[in-house]
């Protein structure tokens, strides 16, 4: 056995057993199914959890503080590091908040909108496949992990072809997108979309009626309607509790009001219902992407909004026109100065409602930026959700809440 000393502390010898027959165990922060750096302190009575206390902050990097000390464009790549499974969703949420503040949301060219919506939905598929893979792995279905990651790799390749990065995309800019789709990308995307439904069917065949899967997931982690509202749950956590609310439908942004898609809802309230939701949402994303592919060729090849006060002119103009170059220089060195005011722009990220609250005092630096991260509240929910369940179900419940710690700790 390791000899504990001051340099190598050894915590296993701490006495966690109490007189009242409850046992306190530490779950994480380095537990493989804690989905990052979650430390859960569980008080157990036999096999049953009587108290759960999520201890977070192990991944705290002070993103909100950094935002106050960076110009708006400088901060955009930092948002990648929030929900690192679906970075474009964060980039977009931030860009949307700034665009609303600047009042240029309608000026974003249509092609940029098509590309952004494509990237958002592709990210949703990437994130949901990741959810399925890790959730199934946590519960014990190893092969699903391999199948889902194989498909996710193709989606990541598409992201890589577009922006050059696999995880930290920064593929969206304030006012548009930096690049047009590379040649052949659309064909690759439609190839991917043709293959994906068969893969989803494969996952469903393996899991949906699987006896073990159902035993592990059904009636585990029941989030009642009231609980979901009280805790500010959003996304599949809310829709899994029978409340049909999706920001894409209710407060549409980008092209979602033109697209034809459904919002899957279930009132099962348990992990199994949420699993079914994720599968259905992927199918809806495929539907959306197919519509976007046919929209793309009808658009003008313009990518960035024309708002010379806030956004640099296209590269050709900068290189040929003196005034465009001057403005570009000012925007890069000093940064844009949005008007004074407050904005809260909600978007539907794969995890739930991701919103950026920005208070601007007319300076190139945001006076206050608050990230409304869905996972933060889903983590808080654990302290109510885990009470009364068995210790074997804890991992299932954490997996089913789909929390990402970049977002929780910020």
């Amino acid at each position: 056995m390791q000899q504990p000393n001051k340099l190598k502390p050894f915590f296993e010898n701490l006495n966690f057993e109490r007189k009242d027959n409850t046992m306190v165990i530490n779950f994480g922060p380095q537990h493989p199914s804690a989905h990052g750096q979650l430390r859960l302190v569980l008080e157990l009575q036999g096999e049953q959890v009587v108290k759960a206390y999520p201890d977070i902050g192990y991944l705290h990097r002070g993103v909100e503080k950094m935002a106050e000390n960076m110009i708006y464009n400088e901060f955009l790549p930092t948002t990648d590091r929030l929900d690192y499974i679906a970075s474009t969703a964060n980039n977009y949420a931030f860009a949307l908040a700034v665009e609303r503040l600047l009042g240029i949301e309608d000026k974003v060219p249509r092609r940029a909108k098509v590309i952004r919506t494509m990237l958002l939905e592709l990210n949703r598929i990437i994130s949901h496949l990741f959810f399925l893979a890790t959730h199934a792995l946590d519960v014990g279905a190893m092969s699903i992990f391999l199948y889902a990651f194989r498909e996710r790799e193709f989606a990541m390749d598409l992201m890589e072809d577009y922006c050059g990065a696999r995880l930290t995309h920064s593929a969206v800019r304030i006012g548009g997108v930096p690049l047009d789709l590379p040649p052949g990308w659309i064909e690759n995307l439609s190839n991917f979309l043709n293959k994906l439904p068969d893969q989803i069917k494969l996952y469903e065949d393996l899991l949906t009626e699987n006896r073990i899967w159902k035993m592990r997931l059904e009636d585990v982690g029941v989030v009642s309607k009231e609980m979901a509202l009280e805790w500010g749950c959003t996304g599949p956590m809310l829709r899994g509790s029978g409340i049909a609310y999706d920001v894409r439908k209710e407060e549409p942004y980008e092209l979602y009001d033109e697209l034809d898609f459904d919002i899957p809802v279930t009132d099962r309230c348990d992990s199994y219902g949420r699993y079914r939701l994720y599968m259905e949402e992927m199918k809806e994303s495929i539907k959306i992407l197919r519509q976007l592919i046919s929209m793309y060729p009808k658009t003008e090849p313009k990518l960035m909004a024309h708002a010379p006060k806030y956004i640099s002119a296209p590269k050709e103009e900068i290189m040929t026109q003196n005034y465009a170059l001057m403005q570009h220089f000012v925007l890069v060195t000093q940064g844009m100065r949005p008007p004074k005011g407050t904005v809260y722009a909600p978007t539907e990220s794969p995890k739930g409602e991701l919103g950026f609250f920005i208070r601007s005092e007319g300076e190139p630096y945001a006076y206050r930026l608050k990230v409304r991260a869905p996972s933060f509240f889903h983590t808080g929910l654990l302290q109510d959700l885990l009470v009364g369940c068995y210790v074997a179900d804890v991992v299932t419940i954490i997996g089913s809440t789909n929390i990402v710690f970049g977002e929780v700790d910020r």
Partner: protein, 266 residues
């Protein structure tokens, strides 16, 4: 003369601002008659809540109230106007300008898909009542607010730091919070885990991920100069001549027929 730096706001500021430049304001609209927001305002007024100001900003209703009324207001909004979800709750530091914090509650009505923001201002040493009884999510959000700004929340069930370590000094999102650490912060982990006397032994933190310490015998640092794990660095030859590896040797073997190389190796 050295430049005077303000101590009440140490955040980064614009290096240059045109002296004739006036920041525009995001348009604030009146609450339209007959709209949903008007019924919300009427409901609040009929419950004797003093509204300091209200307007619509970028499609969201903004209501300014007194800090004592926060629980009452949110309860009314939740029960009467169906703002069933509180999506966010936090504060903004205005200590340098007004000596006040601005606390905001971002609410959502799911049926009408309308959002409202309740804003209240408190003095620096003033506590605010917890809204945990109205919206359970405030349990986490108010803890974060306390952690980041040092705003005390009365009647909160478990007011404790959430993102920063329990023994942290200072509240990071205040404008007075320094952007770079001091000596205490630099040695925080060393002092905490090992004690101050270990500062010399461990040395200052090195943040260069590409740094290779040739004399480190534990972390794969002696590439090409391998020694047994944890060997005493004093005993290790400190010259630049590579040490003969005693574990394995890579042979460049010629596998073509007739070559004796492979047999030699066997």
């Amino acid at each position: 003369m050295r430049r005077y730096t303000p101590k009440d706001n140490v955040q980064k500021k614009a290096k240059y601002t045109d002296r004739f430049w006036v920041a525009p304001q995001v348009p604030r609209e009146e609450v339209e008659e007959g709209s949903f927001f008007e019924t919300v305002i009427d409901e609040l007024k009929s419950n004797n809540i003093e509204l300091l100001d209200f307007y619509v900003e970028l499609g969201q209703l903004v209501i300014h109230i007194k800090p004592e009324d926060n629980v009452k207001t949110l309860k009314t909004l939740k029960e009467k106007s169906c703002f069933k979800m509180c999506s966010e709750l936090s504060a903004i530091d205005y200590l340098a300008q007004d000596g006040e914090f601005e606390v905001f509650y971002q609410l959502l009505n799911l049926d009408k898909a309308q959002r409202a923001r309740v804003i209240t201002r408190i003095k620096e040493d003033q506590a605010i009542e917890s809204v945990e009884k109205v919206y359970r999510m405030a349990n986490f959000a108010e803890r974060e607010m306390y952690d980041m700004f040092g705003i005390y929340v009365n009647n909160h069930s478990y007011l404790k730091r959430i993102l920063m370590p329990d023994d942290w000094v200072g509240h990071p999102l205040r404008k007075t919070y320094p952007l770079q650490g001091d000596e205490h912060a630099q040695w925080y982990e060393v002092d905490k885990i090992f004690g101050k006397e270990y500062r010399d032994i461990i040395g200052p933190e090195n943040r260069d991920p590409a740094r290779v310490d040739r004399y480190d015998t534990q972390r794969f640092a002696r590439v090409g100069h391998e020694v047994p794990f944890g060997a005493d660095p004093e005993l290790v030859d400190k010259t630049d001549t590579p040490i003969e590896s005693r574990y394995s040797k890579t042979f460049l073997t010629d596998y073509t027929k007739g070559s004796k190389e492979l047999e030699n190796r066997r």
